[in-house]
């Protein structure tokens, strides 16, 4: 290598080193500023909470000062989040006092403004507040959030609309939660429940009757399962009588198992020999929960070709209260099917250990 080339290489190395140093320095400054900003935001938030918490706590006892100041802009997010957290925790008079205080301090106006904030957490607090205050003026803005890509925001907006007006809100929200595949059925139940479980179940049942999409049917059945209302179970029974889709049948049987009405036993038994093992598991599970003395059925299912069916049947037998002493032991020793004997012995051991 010539002297000139060596000089170029050294110069390049020095320049690279300088650039790396500058970049590292910049990165450190950015990290410091981010950390400083976070700490400052936390301090500001805790200062705001310290200022408003005594007011809110006193308000819950019905003690509201004559003059309540409105929220300043930097306070909005923190105070509305705090107010919602307290409102989530209590009900009855304490809750009513909190709502009365928020109306007096015009939290509605603050929330309507915060609903346009770029921070999702602030918008969540705003939507929850507007729902609790039954703020009719914000319906349009809340409806605009229903197709937001952020599920939490969509869900909060739907819940808020139901709180503002249960009937109209349900008519809007029920078809949406049926379609929102990213929303877990339990979360859908939480969205709809502010309307009252019976009203919510009726709205979901309407959606269930209106769709023939198996995926959506399963989803709606699971939501009805969470709502646990008689009108919902009726819709599930009707679907079970008409569907041939194994996933839908399984979901319906699960609901009937949870509902534990022995009058459903004949309907459930129709699927006892279904080709899909997960359907037969649900049949055995449901009939086991009905607590019928259906001895022959469970003994037969003890010899099913699927392990889960044998296992569930064994547990149903072990849970039967009125069997003759020694019957299970005899069955576990002399059943002609080796797998049936294994399943029963396992269930008996698990029962003893429990």
């Amino acid at each position: 290598m010539t002297a000139g080339a060596e000089t170029v290489v050294v110069e390049l190395a020095i320049r690279t080193g300088v650039v790396a140093l500058v970049l590292t320095g910049l990165l450190l400054v950015v990290a410091f500023l981010a950390r400083y900003g976070l700490v400052r935001r936390r301090h500001r938030r805790s200062d705001v909470e310290a200022a408003w918490m005594p007011l809110l706590l006193n308000a819950m006892r019905g003690e509201v000062p004559d003059q309540v100041r409105t929220l300043r802009r930097p306070e909005r997010g923190a105070v509305l989040a705090l107010w919602n957290q307290l409102a989530d925790t209590v009900q009855g008079a304490g809750y009513e006092h909190l709502v009365a205080f928020a109306r007096r301090a015009d939290f509605g106006q603050a929330a309507r403004r915060l609903l346009r904030h770029r921070d999702a957490a602030a918008r969540l607090a705003a939507a929850a507040t507007l729902g609790r205050l039954q703020d009719v003026r914000s319906v349009r803005s809340l409806q605009d959030l229903l197709d937001h890509p952020n599920l939490a925001l969509r869900a909060q907006a739907a819940r808020a609309l139901i709180r503002v007006d249960p009937d109209t809100g349900l008519r809007t929200a029920a078809p949406l939660v049926a379609r929102w595949d990213d929303c877990h059925p339990a979360a859908a139940v939480a969205i709809l429940t502010p309307a009252g479980p019976a009203r919510a179940a009726a709205a979901v049942a309407v959606e269930l009757r209106a769709t023939d999409n198996p995926g959506r049917q399963v989803r709606l059945v699971k939501i009805l399962d969470g709502l646990r209302q008689p009108s919902g179970v009726d819709a599930v029974r009707a679907l079970l009588r008409s569907t041939e889709n194994p996933e839908v049948i399984s979901a319906c049987l699960h609901v009937l198992a949870e509902y534990r009405d022995s009058a459903d036993a004949d309907l459930v038994r129709r699927f006892a020999d279904h080709p899909a093992p997960f359907v037969r598991v649900q049949v055995v599970n449901a009939l086991g929960r009905f607590r019928l003395e259906d001895l022959d059925f469970f003994v037969e299912k003890l010899g099913d070709r699927d392990w889960w069916v044998r296992y569930r049947a064994a547990h149903a037998l072990v849970a039967m209260p009125l069997l003759e002493p020694g019957y299970l032991e005899d069955l576990a020793a002399h059943h002609p099917d080796r797998f049936a004997r294994d399943a029963l012995q396992q269930a008996m051991t698990e029962r003893e250990a429990a």
Binding site: E49, M53, L57, M60, R61, T89, G94, Y95
Partner: protein
Amino acid sequence: MAGTVLVVEDEPQILQLLEFWLQSEGYDVVTASDGRAAVEQLDGDPTDIVILDVMLPHVSGIEVLEKIRSLPGWRDTPVLMLTAKRAEQDIVRAFDAGADDYVAKPFQLEELVARMQRLMRGRGRRDEG
């Protein structure tokens, strides 16, 4: 004073709410913000009642309850559990572990106090018996 109460709750705002409410009802309140801090409180004198959240960081509410039931000084202290709504399994586990009663969130503050008073009266009757 209505009595002493140990409140174990990890959400600072809810802990503050319970402390404020119970103090205004005349209780002397001791607080712990997680399961570990609650277990440390058990080294001190027993309170008249414990309010215990089921979901706690580090050591769960159920584990704290089991610890309470294993300590001679605290064994008979009534424990009222705070649970989430529809948390049936938590409730069953809490009763299995020796809880005396539970209140599901959201709860009525007046009901919480009424349940505490009932438990404390029951304990008083047992002590007299």
